[in-house]
Subunit: 345 residues, 2 copies
Amino acid sequence: MYAGLDERGAQVLRHVVENYIETAEPVGSRTISKKMGQNLSPATIRNIMADLEDMGYLAQPHTSAGRVPTGTGFRYYVDYLLELRKLARPERDQLQKMAGDAAFSSEELLRQVSRLVSTLSGQACVVVLTRLSSQPLRSLSLVPAGSGRILLVAVTQAGWVEHRLIEGEGGLSGDEMQKINNYLGELASGISLQQLRVKILHEMKREKARYDRLMRRALQMGARALEEGSPTEVYVEGRANILEQPEFAEDVQKLKRILRAFEEKSVIVRLLDRALEDGAIQVSIGSENPVEGLPDISVVASGYRQGDSRVGSIGLIGPVRMDYSRVIPLVEYSAKLISSVLGHR
Amino acid sequence: MYAGLDERGAQVLRHVVENYIETAEPVGSRTISKKMGQNLSPATIRNIMADLEDMGYLAQPHTSAGRVPTGTGFRYYVDYLLELRKLARPERDQLQKMAGDAAFSSEELLRQVSRLVSTLSGQACVVVLTRLSSQPLRSLSLVPAGSGRILLVAVTQAGWVEHRLIEGEGGLSGDEMQKINNYLGELASGISLQQLRVKILHEMKREKARYDRLMRRALQMGARALEEGSPTEVYVEGRANILEQPEFAEDVQKLKRILRAFEEKSVIVRLLDRALEDGAIQVSIGSENPVEGLPDISVVASGYRQGDSRVGSIGLIGPVRMDYSRVIPLVEYSAKLISSVLGHR
DNA sequence: AATTAGCACTCAAAAGCTTCGAGTGCTAAG
DNA sequence: CTTAGCACTCGAAGCTTTTGAGTGCTAATT
């Protein structure tokens, strides 16, 4: 259990971390002594704290101040000391109520969950949705879009819709369109856009000299539409919560860096990447997070599934001093919720 | 020309405003005297400034400080004194280059323009796109979306794509779908979604006892899909630029209010509403803007057209102390640019 | 041997004080 | 009407003092 620490040291560390999470101020020995029920005098606590500091779990901002947990300290806390609180009833109810609202499209659902989770946690909440193009399709259709254009509409089995405009085509009768549709739809059924792309290219080679002008054209169009990969969808809600954190409100420089980061989709995606790969909830504390230059933020994230493929992740972004015991269950539950709602679609 | 002010007063006001825009500091009489080429001594300038203060154009943060323009001062400046600088060549080139890139979808174009304009201006840039549902359609199609669902895809003549999922339908053969498509497409051609809705309801009444089950169903579906109005699209870029403004970096309270406002689509839409209605560029200074509770920001916005209907607007949101002479031409040009690019689609 | 009372010490933050200087308004002379 | 001159104002910046939370160490206690 308490790897590398004895019971007492671990308890002191726990109290320091929890107190610091609550107050955002350095924690002194008196406070801990009181919290632990006067069994140990402040002097004793001081000795223990000094030890913890030697071991790298605590640090002093300056000589005459209390202690603050280091990154390592938080890590230890999360790994060994954390008692996950159960997700409070009202919060669970709110989430479930929202999830039950079938009126939301899948996209809208993600945005709403993100928004609610950000409010509940008081942090910024991010939901990413990736690899649309790797999901199996439910249907693929061409739609006339007037003056030399055709719209390719793909609906995945999970209910995501994606469309791409194809330039410089058109001049197809409704009948021809219908034929192409049937042909492409057959080709696409059950496979992903990525796979479809490969399949189409293959098909084009095989039937190079194919007599049917229409089908050849269909293949060409398909290939063209699938050229670039589909973009990753990112929903960020509750950015402004970052301002509520005292550690950032003071230091405008940090604030700037963080808010700038939020403007770059790619940075956000990188922050949540780990959670996508792995099933379990991921906690990146401070400089552990995958983005250089943001050593002051923690990320608590979890992937969610659609059926049995991981298609995205939901995460909270906030200061290292996050209330992990509350926030981890929240993110875990939300990820499961999303998975289950998407599963039914 | 100089309504209510003599030439000299107007020039002094102009210099105060311009200096203040540049430095964000109260402006003193010495500075103005130098700027105006020593024709007038600081003492004279002081007299003039005192007059301007009486008239409400200037204010003193405290007795021994220089003057700061009031909202009214800025208003006068914008209305009578502003010399619009021509949009700098390189900026125009950048914008035009981007607009020429046909690879962007219309949505992507708006986002990219917003991003570039925010960089060029150093302010937050917002592009809103409304009333999709009032644009004439180019095509309307139903697409199978599997397990009891059908996707309605509408493409407007401007090239915007909108889709809505219809629940609890399906079980239609490709052939039936095709028939419905033809019917609805015919019904929809050239009119807007809004109008279509009315038309459909009308049609439903007229043909209440219509023998054709399929067509009746088509009408029902159409009516259902069009129930809620289409959402307004909002692209915000360069939020973090707000932090660059000294007036906000200091006052965290203001900062919070502004960034919170950015999280509410509806607030942003309200800020740019005026520009949508009116063709000309709109400048809302400080408390002139339509949102209560944000008296410290100015909005410079202009609507853009698609063909001959106004479909959206682009605007900058920043401190009252904006460089209007640079920023107004930028917004004007961008709006025209968007109009012209959309016009060609 | 572990704990703790006691005490000297440290140091940031807050409060108080002084200085500085940009800028003003007013007056009287040009 | 303009302007030189001057007394005056007041925030910002710098300095000093006070305060108090917190420490580390030592010696007494359990």
